[in-house]
Assembly symmetry: D2
Homo-oligomer: 85 residues x 4
């Protein structure tokens, strides 16, 4: 590993290996998350809706409520009201 056009091979290798280790850990977590959704589904919950709830919880309550009220307005204007209203 001498003729590398002036590249610091060891440093490059160190960066690549650090990235690969972190990506491996990230993959494990992604799999863990999938497992929790699968477990929730196995307990009768709807995984798709659960995913939506998790996404909605990232928003501030007032932000979420404002978006919901605009959405309701648009749906009403387009005749997309559900029976509950």
């Amino acid at each position: 590993m001498t003729d590398t056009g002036g590249i610091a091979s060891d440093q490059l290798r160190a960066f690549v290996e650090r990235i690969e280790r972190l990506e491996e850990e990230k993959k494990v977590l992604a799999d863990d998350i999938k497992d929790v959704y699968a477990e929730a589904k196995g307990n009768g919950f709807d995984a798709k809706i659960l995913r939506k709830v998790v996404m909605l919880r990232k928003k501030k309550p007032h932000e979420r409520e404002e978006e919901e009220s605009i959405l309701d307005l648009y749906k009403h204007a387009l005749g997309m009201d559900s029976g509950r209203e």
Copy 2:
């Protein structure tokens, strides 16, 4: 373009060019869609919510209503109710 390892160069080129033409047309449409959202925004509509409405309209009404009622249930269970209820 004779020594191409047995590849039918002309045929390959024809496929690539057909794909490129279609991708170009697709890009024009994607830009058109962006323009309509921008125009809607310029007329006072919320582009993000509009995007959501378009997405919701792809679902069948009963499907959409069922998902909404499960979502409401989960939100209620988690104390995420908005003031409107």
Copy 3:
């Protein structure tokens, strides 16, 4: 469609329908592109590599060559040289 909280329902509906028409056309093109790849595959071409070639052709030749020479350098430094060199 009168009580819509001040929303211009007709205007909203017009925006939504324009978006839906454009999205429909875009979907047709996306399907056409898929069909060309499938046809290429049916003629013995590798669709994945074809996709890569289409992507590479979007870059300017000198840009593509520069990226390739850096990539070769890094691969060489990491001992990822293929047998052809």
Copy 4:
């Protein structure tokens, strides 16, 4: 939290919180990965090419070499040869 339409609120909340914790850890790792790329860039490496190297290393050597030789063939057939060949 009693009237929840038969939903096991505590169980739902436990699932949501487990997911949120895992997602938080995953986000930390994603940020760490970004930091390593930034550090590599600060040391003179090309982050985009580095990303490509990391991706290529996920493939088996013979798989990578086969893909590269098909790509070279297609590029040659389309007159996209770089000067190095």
